[in-house]
């Protein structure tokens, strides 16, 4: 009946938080969460194994700070517009990460950071194609992504 009890419980709580607590919404939320968890089960997701989940806040902190910084950087590029010439380009970054959940998290991180966009991941050559708005040095970006995010993700999802 409930393949993902934690997911169902959080869905019910979310439903009640968004709609206000009434008996009607409790029943409706329960129905929604049951069907949603069946849908989730049909996808057969790989259960992520997080032995070092306590490093997640550190990752979130780093990412929020980086997003703030690159927001300012991209905003200044857009405001100065044509005056300061920026050069955009594609970079290919080889990755050691293989866990699909960790790759998804990395894709969210790279995409949410303005100025970098995750375009496509090649699981055979284990490389990812990223487009960078203000590309100065390709090697610098590769080192940044590998040391700042990938190393931490490898540790979290080991």
């Amino acid at each position: 009946m409930l393949p993902y009890p934690l997911l169902s419980a959080s869905l019910v709580i979310m439903w009640l938080a968004l709609n206000g607590f009434t008996l009607g919404h409790l029943i409706l939320g329960c129905i929604v969460s049951v069907f949603a968890s069946w849908g989730m089960a049909a996808l057969r997701p790989v259960k992520p194994h997080l032995p070092k989940w306590y490093l997640l806040p550190k990752l979130i902190g780093i990412v929020l700070y980086d997003i703030l910084r690159s927001n300012l950087a991209v905003a200044s590029i857009l405001i100065t517009g044509g005056r300061r010439k920026h050069k955009s380009g594609f970079i290919t970054v080889p990755l050691d990460l293989e866990n699909p959940t960790a790759l998804a998290v990395l894709a969210v991180v790279i995409t949410s950071t303005p100025g970098t966009a995750w375009l496509e991941y090649n699981s055979l050559s284990k490389t990812v194609l990223i487009h960078v708005l203000d590309l100065v040095d390709e090697a610098e970006w590769q080192v940044l992504i590998k040391t700042r995010y990938e190393a931490l993700l490898m540790e979290i999802f080991k």
Partner: protein, 131 residues
């Protein structure tokens, strides 16, 4: 009885903080949309709206959290959920659009787009030892 009628009860420091975050969030979103209209190529344009989906949303969400926390009208769950959902769903659309563009550019033989990575393992890429 609407919440806005109680906006007078908001202390000055909270009003300042709320306005600051609102202006920052709205400003970043505006800059993003201007960049979206002005940047020359497709791949550059996909960067501009991410200003709105990151701290553009973040600023407005923060302002809303401060406003409703100080007025103590309801718990601040909505804003956190909005932030999470916007962040998690943006890459899906972005990747769909970008990969469609990549596919078309490659099919047209556009020289500015890198070729598709080879489908076989490259000679220099050693088979991983742990496999």
């Amino acid at each position: 009885m609407s919440v806005i009628e109680h906006a007078d009860d908001l202390p000055a420091w909270a009003a300042l903080a709320v306005s600051f975050f609102l202006v920052v969030g709205a400003g970043l979103t505006l800059i993003g949309t201007i960049g979206f209209a002005r940047l020359p190529s497709f791949y550059e344009r996909i960067h501009a709206p991410t200003l709105g989906t990151s701290w553009g949303t973040g600023g407005i969400v923060m302002a809303s959290m401060i406003f409703f926390t100080v007025l103590a009208t309801r718990p601040v769950v909505h804003e956190i959920l909005i932030g999470i959902f916007v962040t998690v769903t943006t890459p899906v659309t972005l990747m769909l659009l970008a990969r469609a563009a990549l596919h078309r550019d490659r099919a047209e033989g556009n020289p500015e787009v890198p070729a598709e990575a080879p489908l076989t393992r490259e000679a220099e890429g050693q088979p991983a030892a742990g496999e």
